[in-house]
Symmetry: C2
Subunit: 273 residues, 2 copies
């Protein structure tokens, strides 16, 4: 099962927080997991493992330079996704019995609601790997050769020890297929990365970098915005796989540091443009 | 000698033109060359040669979708650069004795001024390869590890038969060093492309694609905006070369189709940000 839990939050009084709360959101998530299932929390802490979850930064409020101002009037939320059964089951449970509050950088935010229902919040969701795969890989029609991603939180890739804050097709879909094959019971061909590199062109975008605080005094550079890709080869299998991974990006995130708020991504609807 | 000639233009009455006049500007340039020096014009038409000039689209006016509205009140200009002695000498002559008018897509624009003096217009310039090389390669201090380019007209690269509308360091500086070595009497190492690929990181940008009409019904996708690069290796020679090529970009343009308006680029000043 894969789940995207949205916790809607409210500040009881006005408070000024750091602008980017990816690490704080991650810490709050691990505290909640630890309270619910200490063995799972320990597993999620394990070094060098591919993490079966992502955490968004705190979303909403008013950005002022390096600060985020939030008050009782602001619609705030954080979003946690689970990519394996254990994390997803816990997130689904929290949708039923949400935690009462979330602590972010010393500020206590009241949890006003919790949902995994996409009808209740556009960033919530719940499905299975099997359903997702079946939806894309089984139909006999022609999958669209066009796809478009919205990069809602700063996204970046690592390449030869450097950050590469550009959504090159092979990086985006390479990142996604690796996660898919780490967690899905339905394996797909990792050659999709090569198809993306050779046959997927960047056709439109509007992107800008954002600075994200890293460990200590370091910073990470990510990009936000949107990017449209067009396949120059209409092979049905590879296109289906790209469309599958585009939907999976909603849960898996894209690129580097998706557990601490980076790489929050979703398919961008094509309608209305 | 390398020269950037700016022709300031005026429309005698309001007229609606296509939004992107790169090909029209190129055609007007070749007509002017043909009138002045038929043998040179023939050489500039030769297929498959690296062209010793660039042409800007018509700059100024008000864009409305696929149209450009211009009137007598608009400050308009086109810009032609010469990368070898013959073209540069002709452009320098036009700065003294400008053509009386320029025909673009059937519209006649009056040439109100012509200059190669950067004090007279920020996109004008005139220098020699030797001076440019000496300015960067001879000083003994440390060249800056940071450089920033403004992509003023849609810019793109070709890669494996596809357009790649992203300013990856190796594409930008590979494009520039190839042109430099085609036209400069002072050759530099083409390995600078590899240095750019391995040691130059994209650190900040704000970029968006623009659609440019190609031949027939085709379109080309370029990007406009700005991009900052930071070298992760402080080697003096390679940094000097990157700084040299950054200044050369003003004349040479960057990437694909610089003779028909694409890839108009200049160093972005760092002050004030």
């Amino acid at each position: 099962m894969i789940v995207s839990l949205v916790l809607t939050l409210r500040a009881e009084r006005p408070v000024v927080l750091p602008a980017y709360l990816g690490r704080a959101s991650h810490a709050a998530f691990l505290r909640l997991v630890d309270q619910a299932d200490a063995a799972l929390a320990e597993r999620l802490h394990a070094p060098d493992a591919r993490r079966p979850f992502t955490c968004s930064p705190l979303m909403g409020g008013r950005r002022r330079g390096r600060s985020l101002e939030v008050g009782p009037e602001d619609a705030l939320y954080v979003r946690y996704t689970g990519l394996d059964g254990a994390v997803s089951a816990l997130l689904a449970r929290w949708a039923e019995e949400p935690p009462s509050h979330l602590e972010l950088e010393g500020a206590t935010l009241v949890v006003e609601g919790a949902t995994v229902d996409p009808a209740a919040h556009p960033w919530a969701g719940c499905e299975t790997y099997e359903d997702l795969a079946a939806r894309h890989l089984l139909p006999s029609g022609s999958p669209s050769a066009r796809l478009e991603l919205e990069f809602a939180s700063p996204t970046t890739f690592r390449s030869g020890g450097r950050a590469l804050p550009v959504p090159l097709p092979d990086r985006v879909f390479g990142s996604l297929v690796e996660k898919w094959n780490s967690f899905s019971p339905v394996a797909v061909s990792e050659e999709v990365r090569r198809f993306a590199e050779e046959c997927l062109a960047i056709s439109r975008y509007r992107l800008a970098t954002r600075v994200v605080p890293g460990k200590g005094d370091s910073v990470l550079i990510g990009f936000v915005g949107w990017c449209r890709y067009v396949a120059l080869n209409r092979d049905r299998y590879w296109l289906s796989l790209l469309q599958l991974l585009t939907d999976y990006a909603f849960y898996a995130g894209v690129g580097y540091q998706t557990t601490v708020g980076m790489g929050q991504v979703r398919r961008r609807p094509e309608a209305g443009r």
